[in-house]
């Protein structure tokens, strides 16, 4: 089994996708400050970034609970 064959959890992929979309909205806003990019960043970007950070923290805590660390 090689590294490329390793499976990535669906939850992690969702967290990553939300983070990337949120960061793309952030980059678009910072590069080109327009009304549309501001609107997209303040709604979609910040929401998805918050969800991805929260999702990662939940995954981490759930993993620690499963390992009986917490």
């Amino acid at each position: 089994m090689t590294t490329s064959d390793a499976k990535v959890p669906k939850t992690l992929l969702m967290v990553w996708l939300a983070s990337v979309v949120g960061m793309l909205a952030t980059v678009a806003f910072l590069v080109n400050y327009t009304a549309l990019s501001l609107g997209v960043f303040s709604t979609v970007g910040m929401t998805l970034t918050g969800l991805s950070i929260g999702g990662w923290v939940v995954m981490l805590v759930a993993d620690l609970v499963r390992r009986r660390v917490l």
């Binding site: 959890p9 939850t11 970034t49």
Partner: protein, 268 residues
């Protein structure tokens, strides 16, 4: 202990070839997968809709021209946030799609890529957004506000707003200065109203001519004018400051027109 070290020690002890069992990189987080082509298609859609926004902006009635960022401190924050955001995209993509491990080191990498970098990038962008949205150019980013913004610089205009703008009685952030209450609550309320205005402009859920929602709080006028020699010399101003929230009178009842008359505000 590393996988190779275990294998080497075992081979020395047993003296024969030993096939190590495959390493489960999924750790304890499950084994569900999602097809990467779906992810790639989603990314293409996002890049198309977010980055290539010129046509979308035109369709929504928003000005696609960038609002200049002149403050040097904000420029530094913008650049730092930009680096953090790009690094977050690159590092998280590498860790999730290329490295594809979930060992202890990977979890630290993902913590940086999915929490620290996006958090700092978003925070920096949030600060830039909060400050830049106070600029008059930001208010004029919606075409429906064109009559108001154009009136500010019109040398023929006799409105109160144009007088304040052209005489530099308010040197910067003229719209924000007169349309936001002072203090933290006023800032938060002003920003939330701004998001609401943006939504109404983008969704087309507004009525023409544009009017201010609710009465104008004349305490905003008094925050600059009260105590000024010219203001105090006028007899009608006496006692106004004692009841600044009175509803039966306001500064703009006497000092008008404030903005272009509703019937002269052209439709976008």
């Amino acid at each position: 202990m590393r996988h190779a070290d275990v294998r080497s020690r075992h081979e020395r002890c047993v003296g024969r070839e030993y096939a190590m069992p495959p390493v489960d990189h999924t750790d304890t987080w499950g084994e569900q997968t999602i097809h990467l082509r779906v992810v790639a298609r989603c990314l293409i859609c996002v890049v198309y809709s977010v980055v290539l926004d010129a046509q979308a902006a035109q369709a929504l009635g928003l000005d696609r021209h960038a609002i200049p960022l002149e403050d040097e401190g904000l420029q530094w924050i913008r650049n730092a946030a930009l680096v953090a955001a790009i690094a977050a995209i690159g590092l998280s993509t590498w860790a999730v799609l290329i490295r594809r491990r979930l060992d202890a080191v990977s979890k630290w990498i993902l913590f940086v890529a999915l929490v620290l970098l996006p958090g700092s990038g978003s925070l920096g962008a949030f600060v830039v957004m909060m400050e830049q949205s106070k600029e008059t150019a930001a208010c004029g980013a919606c075409h429906v506000m064109d009559p108001f913004v154009e009136d500010l610089a019109d040398p023929e205009s006799e409105t109160l707003a144009a007088a304040h703008f052209q005489n530099r009685w308010i040197p910067t952030q003229q719209c924000w200065s007169c349309h936001s209450d002072y203090g933290l609550a006023g800032v938060v309320r002003g920003k939330l109203q701004g998001v609401g205005h943006l939504w109404h402009a983008a969704s087309g859920t507004y009525t023409l001519p544009i009017r201010k929602n609710g009465p104008y709080e004349w305490s905003i006028c008094l925050s600059c004018h009260q105590g000024a020699k010219k203001y105090e010399a006028i007899e009608e101003h006496e006692g106004i400051a004692d009841d600044p929230m009175a509803e039966d009178a306001a500064c703009i009842d006497c000092h008008e027109p404030v903005h272009p008359a509703p019937e002269t505000r052209a439709a976008p």
